[in-house]
């Protein structure tokens, strides 16, 4: 009686425990936590951004083009006289959406391929890796042209395209680590208790690859935002006039010498996003790794 009591108590404690200790551990890590708050802010902006902007991000004002920072326009105005700050805020949704979703999808597919390739080795590995090699060799622009031709333009397709480009990289990264991990003794132990291949790969090898996936993923988000913009210039993605950060940055290229704010603010937005994701990733990874945690 008393024994069962203690068990269930402990169970409850540990159940509630995981989440709350996670939260507790997380708050311990100041940098990661601040980054997390920033990220939450971004998500909020992505949701309500378009409704709280000081100016309509699309309305031009040809009488006030290319103005510097001022009381009225904190981040200045662009070549059409649109408020840069408003555009940044309104652009959070698209940029964050494309950046994160495409990288996530790419990471997912790449990770699976990498795990399978690394674990099974032999011809499976050869086939997957050589396909990756060829995909690497295909320049993005050519693939993009192909994708537009096959799928047509659209936001979904740009996400797909960016994801597609990042698949081989993730696959190779993960494969490299898999090759290493699969030789470890605890994997052998797992085999010896009869774990199915699936389980070994996804429950045991995969967690070991998470750290590098996190690093690569958080690094790639910025690249993805920029890549999405260059694809939208190829007619693949969002309308070039939609306020996404990458597009804003690319459009401002010609103004780098004359209207620095046009380059600076979108650049800053991407920088901060990537920085916060990286910090967040580091923090998460530390918490997930029982050895580093302490």
């Amino acid at each position: 009686m008393s024994e069962t009591m203690t068990v269930s108590k402990q169970q409850i404690a540990s159940k509630r425990g995981t989440l709350s200790t996670f939260w507790h551990d997380f708050r311990q890590r100041k940098v990661a936590f601040i980054s997390f708050l920033f990220f939450v802010l971004l998500v909020i902006l992505a949701v309500i951004g378009p409704y709280i902007v000081p100016f309509n991000p699309q309305t031009p004002d040809y009488n006030h083009v290319l103005q510097g920072m001022s009381q009225k326009h904190w981040a200045g105005t662009d070549e059409y006289g649109r408020d840069v700050l408003s555009r940044l805020i309104a652009g959070t949704r698209i940029s964050l959406g494309i950046g994160i979703s495409s990288v996530l999808i790419g990471a997912m597919a790449g990770t699976i391929l990498g795990l399978v390739s690394g674990y099974f080795g032999k011809w499976v590995d050869k086939t997957i890796m050589r396909i990756c090699d060829v995909l690497f060799a295909f320049p993005d622009i050519l693939l993009a042209i192909g994708i537009v031709a096959i799928l047509g333009p659209g936001l979904k397709n740009v996400i797909f395209a960016v994801a597609f480009f990042s698949v081989p990289s993730f696959a190779r990264m993960v494969r490299g680590k898999t090759l290493e991990v699969k030789e470890m003794l605890f994997i052998e132990a797992e085999k010896s208790i009869g774990a199915k291949t699936n389980r070994i790969i996804f429950r045991h090898i995969f967690p070991e690859t998470i750290p590098i996936i996190i690093v690569y993923l958080t690094m790639q988000v910025g690249t993805a935002i920029l890549a999405a913009a260059s694809l939208s210039f190829l007619g693949l993605g969002a309308s070039p006039s939609s306020p996404d950060w990458g597009a804003m940055l690319s459009m401002s290229r010609d103004y780098i010498g004359t209207a620095f704010n046009l380059v600076f603010f979108p650049g800053l937005a991407i920088f901060l996003t990537v920085l916060s994701l990286n910090n967040l990733g580091d923090g998460l990874r530390d918490i997930l790794d029982p050895k580093i945690k302490d």
Partner: protein
């Protein structure tokens, strides 16, 4: 006072979130030059942690020394700077770790792992160091020593790895060798050979050895003195002869009784009943009280101190000391 190493009231805790859990709480013992001291004790009682803290190798774990001193040749190791400590490690104090697989660098050839330290501490050049390394491997009974130099740890058997660890630790002629279960993975012939080797260096070079082991046979054969630990504390200390002749602490008695002996086969082996209390909920009194056949009321209330009699024999048990004695000691 011993002239080489003195550990005084050592306390070690692991932080876990906000909690700090003491796993070692009051370890006292000492080693003189050229002495072999054995530490035995229940698994998980803090032997390895104690030896790590002598080396100050808590660097990356959440563990830390929260009390006590570790005196090594007049210096308190806990006070030394990392740089000074580094000069001591490997050269003056060397250590053989318990887990030979994970303690060897998996991506470095055995030879290199040996040579590096030899070059660093003995000031030999690469060629000489290499010879010394091969010599060492042969001494610890590694077959085909030359070719093993070029192999990686995963290509060796468990026992071979352990011998490599031993070779690494002994290669630099330390003054104190801490050996954490050095012979568990070795067959008895090799074990005998290793023990002989250790004794030899002890005799010839005056190396002191702190031998952590579960094998009471090994203890009986090689140690001068024995320290018995239980639940993070030293519960008894005696010379080998005394200990095996007349163990004082009930835990020691239980241990000795548990040993299976060849030619004396029983259907069931004796084992000490019950469990170690968990470190977060340590009882107030004697930590062994719940398992002790001689338990008294006082055992549950107050923890006995480690008390030494005239000839240096120590115990921590109410059976062999009175409250007065304890008080006398604390006053004195």
């Amino acid at each position: 006072m011993h002239n080489l190493l003195n550990v005084n009231n050592l306390q070690i805790a692991f932080r876990k979130r906000k909690k700090s859990i003491k796993v070692v709480n009051g370890v006292d013992f000492g080693i003189s030059k050229g002495e072999i001291v054995g530490i035995v004790g229940e698994s998980g009682c803090g032997k390895s942690v104690t030896s790590l803290s002598i080396m100050r190798l808590f660097h990356d774990t959440s563990g830390e020394v929260v009390g006590g001193t570790i005196q090594f040749k007049e210096k308190d190791l806990l006070e030394l700077s990392e740089r000074e400590m580094r000069r001591i490690r490997g050269k003056e104090i060397a250590m053989i770790f318990q887990e030979p697989m994970t303690s060897l660098n998996p991506v470095m050839k055995i030879g290199k792992q040996l040579i590096q330290g030899i070059m660093l501490h003995l000031g030999l050049n690469r060629e000489e160091a290499k010879q010394q390394a091969v010599e060492m491997l042969k001494l610890v009974g590694i077959p085909r020593a030359e070719s093993i130099m070029n192999e990686y740890p995963h290509q060796l058997s468990g026992g071979m790895r352990q011998r490599v660890m031993i070779a690494i630790a002994m290669s630099c002629e330390p003054e104190l060798l801490i050996a954490d279960e050095p012979t568990t993975a070795l067959d008895v012939t090799i074990q005998a050979q290793i023990l002989q080797l250790m004794k030899k260096i002890q005799r010839e070079r005056g190396t002191a050895i702190l031998l952590i082991t579960h094998d009471l046979g090994v203890v009986a054969e090689s140690c001068d003195r024995v320290v018995v630990m239980y639940a993070g504390r030293v519960v008894e200390e005696a010379t080998v002869e005394e200990l095996f002749e007349s163990p004082l602490h009930p835990y020691t008695q239980g241990l000795i009784e548990s040993v299976p002996k060849i030619g004396n086969r029983k259907e069931e082996l004796y084992s000490i009943p019950g469990h170690v209390p968990n470190p977060e909920a340590m009882p107030n009194g004697c930590k062994f009280a719940s398992r002790c056949p001689y338990v008294m009321d006082i055992c549950r209330e107050r923890e006995p101190q480690l008390v030494s009699n005239n000839n240096g024999r120590k115990q921590r048990c109410w059976l062999h000391q009175s409250i007065k004695e304890e008080e006398r000691k604390t006053i004195g």
